[in-house]
């Protein structure tokens, strides 16, 4: 409004209309920027500061300890376990989620009727509160009372330990996370698929290409930006796994025998249950570096410009 009123005459301080508009834009942009700096950047810097200090959460005295917290973590088998588990969640969860998501998106793309309904159904877990969903899954996995073992036994198969079996627990948790993010994945892929011009397929079909060839030569390369986005996004989700694990193993968090423990859950335990804020901050710093490195690598390696 202001610009319209003043548009006709030159401005007092000699700002041209364009400059004034930009100024206003920056002014409005500064508000979220300040908020972001205060809520995100400052705490991140302060956590770096804490990571080189010893701080038991209560004490006003926080002596500088250099890299001692990092050394403690390096010698801590529970931290190593949490780190390995976190990588395993990524390696198990993401391929499962992407393959299933792409498969479902391709199927949904083929149908016209009920596509919206199916998409909504698949999307539903994504908007279900994580805590509630985790508790329901925990009951489904219950060794003695859960329906999953009842089904297995009905088929004549032996009952499984699921969350009580250190060999299966991580997969059991990952399955729940895949279920939860699948709908989101499908929606992203559907959008990506819709964005591929039909012309390419038609041209290829004229040239005699069919089925798999179309998929490998057209769909997959042109879907690359979408694939990279969802890969990067879900890597971050899996590297930050916390709520699902905490709630599905509520009595022995990250258990049994640390088999489901993740880095973020361990950070929480160190900081808020054992009051070792310095070590918790150090673990956070490590996680930050890992996420940053992996994300940059993924962006660099995976995003290739596709030329046709």
């Amino acid at each position: 409004m202001a610009t319209q009123v003043t548009a006709a005459r030159p401005l007092r301080r000699g700002l041209r209309i364009g400059q004034q508009r930009a100024l206003w834009a920056y002014l409005f942009l500064a508000v979220p920027l300040l908020f972001f700096a205060g809520i995100r950047i400052l705490p991140a810097i302060s956590s770096l500061y804490i990571s080189v200090h010893e701080w038991n959460i209560i004490s006003p005295v926080r002596p500088y300890v250099g890299l001692a917290n990092f050394q403690t973590l390096a010698a801590d088998p529970r931290f190593a376990r949490a780190a390995i588990n976190t990588v395993r969640y990524v390696l198990v969860g993401i391929p499962a989620q992407m393959v299933l998501g792409l498969g479902l998106a391709l199927l949904l793309q083929r149908i016209v009727r009920f596509r919206g309904l199916f998409r909504a159904l698949y999307f539903m877990p994504f908007i279900t509160p994580i805590v509630a969903a985790s508790w329901v899954w925990q009951w489904m996995y219950s060794v003695h009372l859960g329906p999953l073992n009842k089904i297995l036994q009905g088929m004549g198969l032996p009952a499984q330990g699921f969350l009580r079996d250190p060999g299966q627990a991580l997969f059991a948790v990952a399955a729940m996370v895949v279920w939860q993010y699948l709908g989101f994945q499908v929606v992203i892929f559907l959008a990506g698929l819709e964005a591929i011009p039909r012309v390419y397929y038609e041209a290829a079909e004229v040239d005699g290409a069919t089925g798999w060839r179309l998929f490998w030569r057209i769909t997959l390369p042109l879907l690359n930006p979408t694939l990279v986005f969802s890969m990067v996004y879900s890597t971050i989700v899996y590297l930050q796994l916390f709520t699902q694990v905490l709630n599905m193993t509520f009595q022995d968090q990250g258990g049994p025998l640390a088999s489901t423990l993740t880095l973020v859950l361990y950070v929480y335990q160190l900081g808020f249950q054992r009051f070792k804020m310095g070590e918790a901050a150090a673990a956070t710093a490590i996680l930050f570096v890992v996420i940053l490195t992996i994300t940059l690598l993924q962006m660099k390696i995976l995003s290739k410009p596709v030329e046709y």
């Binding site: 209560i58 006003p60 005295v61 060794v143 009372l145 009952a159 079996d165 022995d252 808020f272």
Partner: protein
């Protein structure tokens, strides 16, 4: 001369006024606790009483959700805010002492000799560097809750007195479907619930292994006797299969299973009485924890929340805080606390009251107080994890109990060493 007299009279009046409480500036002190409805209501009442007794003092009562309690303290204290009198779990006291956040109880107001004479023995866990740093109003202990209906239908005629009887009763009450899946547990096991306390302070001791050295610096349970205790406990899960870990998932799953009639017996604290009273459909009862042999030495785990004076309480606020603390732990308050909150009094004298001992629900908990011990935890979360993992190593990985226990002891020793190495005070 007149002037001199006037000055003397004025001077005397000035000195006398505060004593009479007239014109004295009101001192406001702050009390913090976590939110537990019955406690919050009671403390509000107590503060009103206290303020009529001490008109010069005003007490501000603030409370926070349990999960956020330490975080709240952590953020308020460095900012120079926070309470003058604070309610803490006894296991946090070493941390608060080392952080320089508590002042030791003044010996003239709370003589250590008197504390040790008047209180149940478990409160010794709050003595650090030869001084008491905090003091409780009420304490808790463990006992066995049993489902009387299940007892009846399994023809268990009385609550078990020995662990052997306990196991037999559990076996008779356990029900399974045709596939062998448990539908009702005889014993609602919960290593990460109260069973790690049961192992530490009850089973290890009764089997002949003291869990820690007298100075709390060494872990001493990794003996053949300790391993036998662990073997007995884990075989209820692996061999006789009378219980399953996480049978009901979630926090307090064992208690929920009991309340739902799916567990014949559980070991739980007196703090569970309220929930069990409200939520259990079957008829139920409480019995003291069994012993290894009939008439053998009993043992129990006790725990408590303490009130401490923070370093913020100085000058007139300190005097007021001491008065309030004395009021909070007085015999009268302890009686009210028992009625309103259901927690057991911390005074020996009150515990020995025959009426309390005869109470069918409170009695078994009360009878354990003279010998209940509060573990000197330096990092409760980590120390609990160590024993929970030891049980899981045996149950899930078939590790021999002796080996699992030795590994546990080594891990816990490291936690203790770290604590003692960091203590700056003598």
């Amino acid at each position: 001369m007149n002037r001199i007299w006037t000055a003397i009279i004025v001077g005397a009046l000035v000195l006398a006024l505060p004593a009479a409480g007239i014109g004295q500036p009101r001192v406001t002190i702050t009390y913090w606790q976590y939110f537990f409805e019955s406690k919050v209501k009671l403390v509000d009442q107590l503060i009103a009483q206290f303020e009529t007794q001490y008109p010069g003092v005003k007490v501000a009562h603030e409370h926070f959700p349990y999960d956020a309690y330490n975080q709240k303290v952590a953020s308020a204290v460095p900012a120079g805010q926070g309470p003058d009198v604070i309610n803490l779990f006894y296991g946090w006291v070493p941390l608060y002492v080392d952080s320089g956040y508590l002042q030791s109880l003044p010996p003239d107001a709370f003589p250590p000799v008197q504390i040790e004479r008047d209180y149940v023995p478990m409160i010794k866990a709050s003595k650090l560097d030869g001084k008491y740093w905090a003091i409780p109003t009420a304490v808790r202990s463990l006992a066995m809750f049993y489902n009387a209906d299940l007892f009846r239908s399994a023809a268990v005629v009385r609550p078990p007195v020995t662990w052997e009887e306990f196991q037999a009763a559990a076996e008779r009450m356990t029900a399974r479907d045709d596939r062998g899946r448990i539908t009702t547990m005889g014993f609602g096991v919960a290593p990460s619930g109260q069973d790690h306390h049961l192992l530490r302070e009850v089973l290890f001791r009764q089997w002949g292994a003291a869990p820690y050295s007298a100075d709390n610096r060494r872990v001493t349970y990794a003996t053949p006797a300790g391993a036998e205790a662990l073997r007995w406990y884990t075989e209820m899960i692996t061999k006789s299969k009378v219980g399953a870990i996480d049978f009901f998932p979630g926090a307090g799953g064992y208690r929920n299973a009991f309340m739902a009639g799916r567990a014949g017996m559980i070991v739980d604290g007196s703090f569970a009485i309220g929930a069990i009273r409200r939520g259990t459909r079957a008829s139920w009862g409480v019995a003291p924890l069994p012993g290894r042999t009939v008439g053998g030495a009993p043992s129990n785990f006790g725990s408590y929340w303490v009130h401490g004076l923070t370093t913020r309480a100085q000058g007139p606020r300190r005097e007021a805080a001491i008065q309030f603390l004395k009021f909070l732990v007085s015999e009268q308050t302890q009686r009210l606390w028992l009625d309103a909150v259901g927690e057991l009094p911390a005074y020996k004298r009150l515990v020995e009251d025959p009426r309390l001992g005869a109470d069918p629900v409170m009695g078994p908990f009360v009878s354990a107080l003279p010998y209940a011990r509060a573990t000197f935890f330096v990092d409760e979360a980590a120390q609990r994890q160590v024993l929970v993992d030891a049980v899981n190593e045996v149950v899930l990985n078939n590790k021999p109990p002796r080996q699992a226990l030795e590994e546990a002891a080594a891990k816990e020793q490291k936690i203790l060493d770290e604590f003692w190495a960091k203590r700056k005070r003598p």
